[in-house]
Amino acid sequence: MEDKQKNDVILDRLIKEYMKITDEYGYKTAKASFFRMLLF
């Protein structure tokens, strides 16, 4: 697997970890919420 793909896998894993403690509004919303949290 190329490093870019590995980074994508990491991001996916982080978002799924994040979803464990956020409201369950689905992956797309969780991804946006995750990015917003990192903006702050």
Binding site: I21, F35, F40
Partner: protein
């Protein structure tokens, strides 16, 4: 679930607040406690103590709501997640002694010529450009070590926030105290650019590349709607999405009209169409913009005011939105108790008639415990509850 004993108290408070925020006349003037990090210091802790043991949050909120009269508190949240951002190697929040400070020099992470890149693919821009600039760990090439550090950081975030749901549930059961804000980060796109990407350089961007700024705002608006999950939530009484408004006090009215107001109206409309109220937090002085604010659809918004003349606000905007605010925080800190009580009485006498007003101090108590004198604050909140009865 809320226990039977306190059920009535909880419902009364919700009804009282909900009526006033929609411009109506409740049974009493609601007392709103915008209490944040101040509570930790009042209870003998620091923000860092809460970061170390998030369950202390419950103890602090319960104590403060036993000691002071409130009909509603703003929200329940841990302090900024500084330990998490430290593990990522960046971010604007920094520990400073016992407190957590926001370092504005860390905001600037986007160049002026990158608006088109942002607008083309916001998620990709975040992932490939912004996150590596904000956090050293995201900038590293892939390695197993990077992977492990990122997972460890996320586990720290989950440690801080994982207990929040149970804290809120226990708090509500034991205190019968409602809390106001949907935890949703309903941020205005112009403020997103100013607060987190371009800092005050956005003020020159609106002169040099106005169309690019507007295009970026369009894209960020959609991102904020998705992140807030509005379409998947259910409206509740006496709750609102908060828009913390920062940029308008630096904008000329004509710039506000072009770059800020259309998005603000869109956000209010988007929420209200789904049955949600919006709380606009008018941070600073908005007196140069009242003519615009009068165009906001009636009672879809409750406005929390900081530096405006609250009596003038009620006169100019009381037919448009519920009004929150009035009590001078400086007086609560430095005034004598009688001076504070006189100020609260005058506010009730002037602002309560006709309803649509919620008593609150004019600053959020979000610092290190020095913002108000606790004895004054206690006396005032109790006085307003007792004196502010509609007959």
């Amino acid at each position: 679930m809320i226990d039977t004993i306190n059920d009535k108290t909880y419902e009364e408070k919700v009804e009282r607040f909900d009526t006033a925020m929609r411009g109506g006349i409740p049974d009493r003037v609601p007392v709103f406690g915008t209490i944040m990090s101040w509570i930790y210091y009042y209870c003998g802790y620091t923000e860092n103590d809460i970061i170390r043991d998030p369950m202390l949050n419950l103890e602090c909120y319960l104590k403060v709501c036993r000691d002071f009269y409130f009909d509603m508190i703003f929200t329940i949240t841990p302090p900024p997640v500084v330990t998490y951002k430290n593990l990522l190697g960046g971010g604007a929040f920094q520990s400073a002694g016992d407190t957590v400070q926001f370092d504005t020099t860390k905001i600037q992470c986007m160049e002026a010529d990158e608006y088109k890149l942002l607008s083309k693919d916001f998620n990709g821009f975040m992932e490939k450009v912004i996150l590596p600039r904000k956090f050293a760990l995201f900038a590293e090439d892939y390695s197993e070590d990077k992977y492990n550090k990122l997972i460890k950081a996320q586990e720290e975030y989950n440690r801080l926030f994982g207990s929040l749901g149970s804290i809120i549930e226990k708090f509500t059961q034991e205190s019968a105290m409602p809390n106001f804000i949907y935890p949703a980060g309903y941020w205005h796109p112009f403020d997103v650019i100013m607060d987190y990407l371009r800092n005050f350089d956005i003020m020159s961007d609106i002169r040099r590349r106005p169309d690019e700024v507007l295009e970026a705002c369009d894209v960020i608006l959609k991102f904020i709607y998705e992140a807030a999950g509005i379409e998947k939530r259910k409206p509740m009484k006496a709750k609102a999405f908060q828009i913390p408004m920062h940029a308008p006090i630096y904008l000329k009215p004509k710039d506000f009209e072009r770059f800020y107001f259309p998005y603000l109206l869109n956000m209010i409309d988007f929420a209200s169409q789904k049955g949600f109220m919006v709380e606009c937090f008018f941070e600073g002085d908005y007196s140069h913009l009242y003519d615009y604010l009068q165009e906001i659809p009636k009672y879809k918004v409750v406005g929390m005011f900081e530096k405006d003349d609250i009596r003038l606000v009620k006169k100019k905007l009381g037919n448009t939105m519920g009004i929150i605010g009035g009590m001078n925080t400086y007086t609560l800190k430095h005034g004598k108790k009688q001076e504070c009580l006189d100020m609260a009485k005058a506010l009730i006498d002037d602002l309560a008639p006709g309803g649509g007003w919620i008593f609150c101090q004019d600053k959020m108590l979000s610092c290190c415990g020095e913002e108000v004198n606790a004895d004054n604050f206690k006396a005032v909140t109790e006085f307003v509850h007792e004196y502010g009865v509609y007959k």
